[in-house]
Symmetry: C2
Subunit: 342 residues, 2 copies
């Protein structure tokens, strides 16, 4: 089955390829109504489908968006096991498709940059999730396409940011514990990196403590990787060394699930002995036993918004308007893992 080209259409319609191109791209002001009809019919009958590579070559628009997802440390696999990213992708894909764009989903090799991919594929834009080294972002700035960051707070006119108020989220969770009478509150979290979301949540945690006149115990903070396994491990530590702790704020639902398992391993009931709050409200949060109280963000909506913002940035060829971050709302979903201590 040979490819149908614009040439074939032009021959069938009895006009030049230029005319076909004009018609098919909506520059109809330049073409008479009857020609438009002839071309339309010919294209239809031949079932003509344009070649995006050829297009991309001449006008530098590929209709391709790069989406970068963080990877597991050990292997070279995407971190999709955290449903947060899956949901994000659902949103992104839906919005992109709506506008005829496609998504190239990939991870980034450790130490490698993203410049290669972006140039090879002539990407029109990119959505970057996860947190990387400084040099990675420096590289990205050299690229001339719009970029939306999801997980990091780099306020730079080169980058768009679609985020949430992570500090507030951390505050809300901690405050909720305090309001329910808890005073010994642990934090279980991924690595706290500068300008990362986790750092902000950590700051919110501290603010709530301070505001309530509670001490901040550095040894109540359990900081490592954002995994179920680490949550479990942290819970073991808490149960063994800090029996006074009655509440655990995990900065990710995945970790919160692990914490709950770990506590149960150690013979502690949730929420009777220890209360737990998570973050994100991924779909499994409501499936857990007991259903997890968590800070909810509408991740799909966030994906849609990120894609939306990227697309409008791509549309605006008139210079680079520096980007004011978009902040999505948060809600505390009060399920069954927080006990009221009166």
């Amino acid at each position: 089955m040979k490819r149908i080209t614009i040439r074939d259409v032009s021959v069938k319609a009895g006009v030049s390829t230029a005319a076909v191109s004009y018609v098919l791209n909506g520059r109809e002001g330049k073409v008479s109504p009857e020609t438009v009809l002839k071309v339309r019919r010919a294209a239809e009958e031949l079932n003509y489908i344009p070649d995006f590579s050829a297009r991309s070559l001449v006008n530098n628009k590929s209709k391709l968006i790069g989406v970068v997802i963080p990877q597991t440390e050990d292997r070279k696999q995407l971190l999709l096991q955290n449903p947060f990213y899956s949901e994000l992708i659902c949103g992104i894909e839906a919005r992109l498709r709506q506008s005829g764009y496609h998504m190239i989903l990939s991870g980034v090799e450790k130490g490698e940059g993203y410049l290669d991919t972006s140039m090879q594929r002539n990407l029109d834009g990119a959505i970057i999730t996860g947190i990387y080294q400084e040099s990675f972002y420096e590289d990205l700035k050299k690229v001339r396409m719009p970029i939306v960051l999801i997980d990091s707070y780099i306020y730079d006119s080169h980058f768009h940011v679609v985020g949430i108020d992570d500090e507030l989220g951390g505050y809300m969770a901690t405050k909720h514990f305090i309001d329910n009478g808890h005073t010994n509150i642990a934090l279980v979290t991924g690595l706290i990196r500068k300008d990362g979301v986790v750092e902000k949540r950590f700051l919110g945690y501290k603010r709530a403590l301070k505001e309530a006149g509670l001490f901040y115990h550095p040894d109540y903070v359990f900081e490592h990787s954002v995994t179920y396994e680490y949550g479990q491990e942290a819970a073991h530590l808490i149960a063994a060394k800090h029996p006074e702790i009655t509440a655990v704020f995990a900065t990710s639902d995945l970790m919160a699930m692990g914490v709950m398992r770990g506590l149960r391993d150690a013979g502690k009931q949730v929420p009777e002995h220890v209360s737990v709050i998570g973050f994100d409200d991924i779909s499994v949060a409501r499936m857990s036993t007991p259903p997890l109280t968590t800070i909810m963000q509408d991740t799909i909506a966030r994906g849609i918004t990120a894609a939306d913002r990227l697309l409008t940035a791509i549309g605006n060829t008139d210079g680079e308007l520096p980007a004011e971050p978009t902040i999505m709302p948060l809600t505390l979903v009060d399920r069954d893992t927080v006990r009221k201590l009166t």
Copy 2:
């Protein structure tokens, strides 16, 4: 920042673009060692990155693979909420990247085909998950690229299949119940469609019953959508109308999780009152309470295998060797949701 082209490299190296192309594509037999060196150096210094669109145009190879994921019924979103697909994608992406390929991840509009995308983007191959209407596959056959199917059993020389022995899986689960003394075994499943994976699991279920001399009760089969919610609903029905049922085989872990919740809602303990077995062993299976007994398949490995098979098919330009399906192994992971009735 203007693009560095092969022309720039050729000028800097003082040779023709053809020479540069030969060097950079490894046809070094045609070029003298010193030219190779000059070109290498020039390309390096200019940081030359080839344009895949241009390449694709001339030799019809885009190094792009289409990956299709099913969508939710109502909205237009990908079905990534089922971690099965996320894991598959992890595997696929890892393998593709290793060979310099990229993945275009998308859903398919209801009723639409995939021909457009495949032609527009000049895809080198595709991995199709999910089950679609007959016409969709007919369309796919017209395309000249290799295709790997993941969720359907269409044995046709046009398609490669990387599957599991679903019938056996269904049999294993049911047999496990029977071996533990259960006789009233329900099946909770997605829509049973011809040539789909679910149908095979259903057949395995029936075979195990028959082999054990047990009756097959059509009203023990709860068939609807592959969601947590439906699992929950089915469990309610079971608890209300069929108190004699002591075991539930759910053809997806997601549904199994819902079943467990539903049983608990209805005041039934798992596994004390009712036992449950799932399918897939998605990561949340081990996180559930109690940890779910399930039929394990290594989904990441399956993704890797699918990509691998696709890549070799792409490599083999020597005619279309019809495809013998690849069958991945299954294991029953015996966790804590099956009770022994002695």
